[in-house]
Symmetry: C2
Subunit: 239 residues, 2 copies
């Protein structure tokens, strides 16, 4: 999943160049090459980001160390710092890339589809993401727990905007009597919560379910339970 060809970069332009504060004004309008990024550099960056995801998602930003990330990435710390001069930068990159894919399932909720199957599909997709990208989920959770200091802007704009839009969509369905009337925002929260739970609280889920019920069927059981929940709640069918 890391292989990308991309167009051939004409010139290297490392990533480190200490242009930290020296060229603050120079960068403002200098027409110099905006660092094209060679294929090799992209690869290494991907390796680093992959390792960083592994570490950040478990320990959070403060708790993770560059040494740890470097070790997981299989390179020396200074070498890693050559590609990402700042710890923060690695984290920012991860979060930015994450948020985009993270919201994709919600974006796909289609106003022209059948309400129930749209919602069911959304839950499915979110559940699949929790299963297939648990580290991303935990990275996100970690950031939230800390008060989202590094991404407050993103969630206040991109995320809020998308949720507002989909909340309107849900409201429309409610107005048409196609789904029960509830607060669409809290409905979305509940979907987020129930699905991401399986990634973020994985240890707990495993521990409680015990060794017997922990195979691949775990997610199927979860999907069924959530489907029943969102479809009928706990009301028995025969009443």
């Amino acid at each position: 999943m890391t292989s990308k060809k991309l167009k051939a970069a004409d010139h290297p332009t490392p990533v480190s160049r200490r242009q930290h504060k020296a060229d603050a004004k120079a960068a403002a309008h200098s027409p110099t090459k905006p660092r094209p990024l060679t294929r090799i550099q992209k690869e290494k960056q991907d390796i680093i980001l992959e390792a960083a995801l592994e570490v950040f998602s478990v320990h959070g930003f403060r708790g993770a160390t560059i040494d740890q990330i470097a070790e997981v990435a299989g390179m020396s710390k200074p070498n890693l710092l050559y590609y990402f001069p700042k710890k923060e930068e690695i984290h920012r990159r991860l979060i930015a890339a994450l948020l985009d894919t993270w919201l994709a399932p919600l974006r796909e909720m289609d106003e022209n589809g059948d309400p129930f199957s749209e919602i069911r599909s959304y839950i499915r997709r979110k559940l699949e993401m929790a299963r297939d990208f648990p580290r991303e989920s935990r990275l996100f959770a970690n950031e939230m727990l800390q008060g989202a200091p590094r991404i407050s802007e993103m969630i206040e704009v991109d995320l809020k905007g998308l949720v507002d839009e989909k909340a309107r969509l849900l409201m429309g369905w409610m107005d048409e009597g196609k789904i029960a009337r509830t607060d669409p925002y809290h409905l979305i929260f509940s979907i987020w919560a129930t699905t991401q739970h399986y990634a973020d609280f994985d240890v707990q889920v495993r521990a409680v379910l015990g060794p017997g019920r922990n195979g691949e069927g775990r997610f199927e059981d979860a999907a069924r339970t959530l489907e029943q929940l969102y479809l009928h709640g706990l009301t028995p069918r025969n009443r």
Copy 2:
């Protein structure tokens, strides 16, 4: 190391005394006072634990520093270490105290009550805990995200035991046709997830709801939404 001569220190009973491994056997049957804990000591410990909760809940174990905790507690680092010689010990105390109160709501679910009102009460109580003790919730979440390295035993025994018991209770209600049939474990997970979400992802919830809908009514809206969800799901009433 840790040479302990001490002049006339027969039984000062501070809290620090490095009795880590030195008096393993001595403590076994020595009739000396088993650290009575003066009122003042208890007070200071509480201040420290309160401060530690504040810091640990945001940054996790690794990300939190003793200096930070000491500052929040309003005392010097060595002074803090006089009461809790180890960082880990503070954390362990917090977690131990937490887990007990955290599971209380589930314990209260009564098999003799009406299924629906029992479940509704449980959700209410959990939601109230998320509202009134968000730091505890985040501390717990942080520990889970990290794989629960420090409390695996507790969740594998106490927590699993309790959930097993309540799952049986729920199954009983299902057998009697009083509530719809679903996987009781995943049902409990969903309740945990939806309620704790409001503590753990507080920033996100606030950001999405915007300034208008963020007052005290927030939790009321959540409660109503969850009640609707667990009672009827999204099925419209008129069908």
